[in-house]
Symmetry: C2
Subunit: 554 residues, 2 copies
């Protein structure tokens, strides 16, 4: 689709968000892909496990695709790897932590042996076809995040990755201002920048401020301390570990992903845990309560997570008891608010003291706010600007910021996934569209659940199903058995026997009428049963179950 000698940028994938999970950079017959992440299903995507970007465009242009760059190890940036790699066996670039997490994911799918993983460090440059990619240190809520400068024959693209500006980061490595400034000085054609926190004024505070908070909470707590956070937030885990060291507590890690990520991060040197500090979970009951700290998953209230199980008394090894202090060191991902609230209520009922964001600042964001975003725009001074990593409303507001900074509105693009943004050294425009969208993963099925299945699930979920089944003599059209009426999810059948009897009666009348007609065929019969029952049941119950007539011929 993109023309020769022009540079194209195509955001792919994303549900509400644009250019988050995957972005395509194309020049002549060469493509590099940035990120391969999943999205979490929306509420109405019933039964869907996860959502991946539609990569039809990449598969159709397979021979052009030279490599995949992972900016960082969050699920929405690496989670689709197991679905993408079998279709595009290309080399993958990323920081050691990102690739460590990616490898673990590929291992689960038995794909790790085929993957060609190329670890890079901040400051490195890699040549991929006509592209030269510089990797730039940025701060975020996971370690090992790399912003990108992609030098192309048409000009330089800067991609911030998910970022914030942390002047006192836990690992001592602030965002590489010098590099962004240098790029800006030399001239940047397009900037793609993270829009997540654009609605918030001011600056996001440093991860470091939590050190004091944790110390205070560790100091005050007389019983056990249980800290829930994202397993990927290595720096947060490090800060909890640091507080534990200071207050003579042993640390146990709980939850599958927490245990996995901690082990990878330790191995790769991203997480420092002194010998003897970490204990097995089985050990904690043998230690005095004030010598125990537990770091767990479940900060989003996910029903199957370790913290939720503790809260409801279903965890095999940890039972919440009065005197425990539970710190939920995370904010709600939109949509999880009620699950988190429920977990907090349960924890309080079990007698724990619960410390969470609404009451105490035990979390800081990993995304830049307005002042940081403006700083980035001013450092990079791009000719064209493409806000990404946000829903449409975030992009609009980020675009507004860019205009305040002085980028002319015609040079700012608010794209949708699938839009092809085409650039020359002096021009930029939306040049067309490619196939883009979302593919549903449900169990082993990738893409086999679509709108028809989801519409059925929706109806089934609201009012259930009512089945009317009969056996008819093929030769004389007589009813040999039934109608039998079976329902699920519609009414409590034991208390609705008379209603079911009436339904049976109605079906009988419809069948008899139809069978006595000349032109009666099965499809007409089914149609009439459906129609009659729909109407009857809605009148009687104001519900609309799915109605499924089944005719057996003998």
């Amino acid at each position: 689709m993109p023309k020769q000698n022009k540079l194209s940028l195509i955001p792919l994938g994303g549900l509400g968000e644009i250019g988050k999970n995957m972005t395509v950079v194309e020049y002549k017959n060469q493509i590099i892909v940035i990120d391969a992440g999943i999205m979490f299903p929306e509420e109405e995507m019933l039964g869907i496990d996860l959502v991946i970007p539609d990569i039809t465009y990449l598969v159709e242009n397979k021979e052009k695709v030279l490599g995949l760059i992972l900016t960082h190890g969050h699920e929405d940036h690496i989670g689709a790897l197991p679905y993408v790699l079998p279709q595009l066996n290309i080399p993958i670039y990323g920081s050691r932590l990102t690739l460590g997490l990616a490898e673990a994911k590929l291992q689960e799918h038995g794909l790790d042996r085929k993957a060609r993983l190329h670890p890079v460090n901040p400051g490195d440059s890699v040549k991929i076809g006509s592209f030269k990619v510089d990797f730039i240190n940025v701060n975020h809520s996971i370690a090992g995040v790399l912003g990108l400068a992609i030098h192309t024959p048409v000009g330089t693209i800067v991609h911030t990755a998910d970022f914030k500006i942390d002047h006192t980061p836990v690992d001592g490595e602030p965002l590489d201002f010098r590099k962004f400034a240098e790029l800006g000085e030399k001239g940047v054609l397009v900037l793609l920048s993270d829009s997540t926190n654009v609605e918030r004024e001011g600056y996001t505070v440093s991860e470091r401020v939590l050190a004091e908070k944790f110390e205070e909470l560790f100091h005050r707590a007389e019983g056990r301390l249980i800290v829930a956070t994202f397993s990927s937030n290595i720096h947060r885990v490090q800060q909890v570990v640091n507080a534990a060291i200071l207050h003579n507590r042993k640390v146990a890690f709980v939850g599958r992903s927490m245990v996995n990520v901690v082990s990878i991060a330790k191995e790769l040197g991203y997480l420092q845990i002194p010998d003897g500090l970490e204990v097995e979970l089985d050990m904690i009951d043998r230690l005095p309560a004030n010598q125990v700290a537990i770091v767990t998953t479940g900060s989003q209230g996910e029903p199957l997570s370790a913290l939720s199980r503790m809260a409801t008394g279903e965890h095999r090894k940890v039972a919440i008891m009065p005197g425990d202090t539970v710190i939920i060191s995370a904010s709600a991902i939109p949509g999880n608010e009620k699950l988190i609230a429920r977990t907090i209520n349960h924890l309080f009922k079990k007698g724990a003291n619960v410390v969470y964001e609404s009451t105490t600042g035990v979390h800081v964001s990993g995304h830049a706010r307005q002042e940081e975003l403006k700083l980035m725009l001013n450092l990079v001074k791009p000719k064209f600007f493409l806000p990404v990593h946000g829903e449409y409303r975030h992009l609009v507001q980020h675009a507004n910021l860019a205009q305040e900074i002085g980028i002319p509105s015609e040079n700012v693009f608010i794209a949708e996934n699938g839009d092809v943004l085409e650039f020359t050294a002096n021009t930029g425009r939306v040049a067309g569209r490619v196939t883009a969208g979302r593919v549903f993963v449900d169990g082993l099925g990738v893409g086999d659940v679509g709108s028809v299945v989801l519409r059925d699930r929706k109806q089934l979920s609201q009012d259930g199903i009512l089945i009317a089944v009969i056996t008819i003599d093929r030769d004389n059209g007589k009813i040999l058995a039934g109608p039998d009426i079976i329902s699920r999810g519609f009414v409590y059948v034991r208390e609705a026997e008379s209603l079911m009897e009436e339904v049976r009666g109605r079906v009988k009348v419809v069948l008899d009428n139809c069978l006595s007609q000349e032109n009666c065929d099965w499809s007409m019969m089914k149609g009439r049963v459906r129609e009659t029952l729909s109407k009857f049941l809605y009148e009687r119950t104001k519900r609309r179950p799915m109605i499924l007539p089944i005719i057996m011929e003998v």
Copy 2:
């Protein structure tokens, strides 16, 4: 259940929240009920329309129930009336607005003729049996809210209702400090106070601050102004009307509940709209854009609301156009965050400028924050304290505030719905429990959908249903027709024909095996089909559809 000569308080109903939708006050053989509200179904209550409190206890003690007091007209305080009144035909007390809204609701259910409605004003006292009830003006996000002082032979109960302290309310009537202070001075046995905003420090600001905000937005807007808010927030609507007057805009009201509430509020004098200001919606297209203001429902992004329809281009009369300014003057009720975000995205895509809470302060809360709650506790100086109107975590924190104020912890009760709190002039304790909980309303069915039906709906919603049906000869046990395999919501059948063929084959084998056995009966046969298919389908798809074997006998 409660003993003679003791005063009992029983919070009834509520999902996560305690003592919100209904509270029972009982002394000897006399009961008064405070509020009769609905709850909105949680996500997992599939297909449920609304949830009402279980009033078994009241129905069992019918002859004791003397009256129902409605503190205000929000759905979570009056919405269950149509379900409660037919079971308890008792007099109802409330402000004129509250009763106006209640009456409209009863009318819809054809119950208004039977209802005995007694309007009261702030400052009024009413004797109900041994109780004397004083009605006290408080501020909130709806007009006509009444706090209560219930004088009983054992002592005085003060109930704040949902409240905030607004020193500059739109209707000029601040919360009646003097009355609360006077009650405190004379001695209050128990205080029940609103815990909704207890997690927030400081004070909730006055509704009045929005006047300036609206004026600024009205001043800046060059096109039409569309303001979405709760229809019940009469003062908010009044402020929009005031801004419209100032800026020479006509006002049209959109959305069923907006139109209804505005008409009731106008009639009762709660809302002042000068003649000629209001126009029919059909008229707006004939006016210049800068002379139009539309006040609409849909501030929660409800998919069927007027604003959502405008956002998606499905509204019959209003199409969003570039230049429109849309103000969403509300905050998200927990659980609605994503719906609202989606609406905002759609509005931006249609070219509107959208102003909402995260970007601009266009909403203030109707609930008291910590400083106001402490003020209330200090004014009333109760002997016992029962935090209500909140989830468990809110009650814990409100209890903590009370202890900071100096109420001994043994005099503070964190109750659950159904707990019987028994008081004498000097003692208070949890004395037992009565039946309490939630009853699901689904269409016309009240209480007929329970855990079995919901469990089925859950399974159907996740992976659909697969039906295997056969007709068998009763005499010789031979299969005459089938097995036929039918599925809904499981896979897209056209692309899964071979899977369905395999399923058919598996069923056939199971049936043949079973039929060839001596002891084969239908229930064993169904069991084996279910088991075999469950296992097979999970292996092949990692999905667990409901499996429904149906056997017809001929």
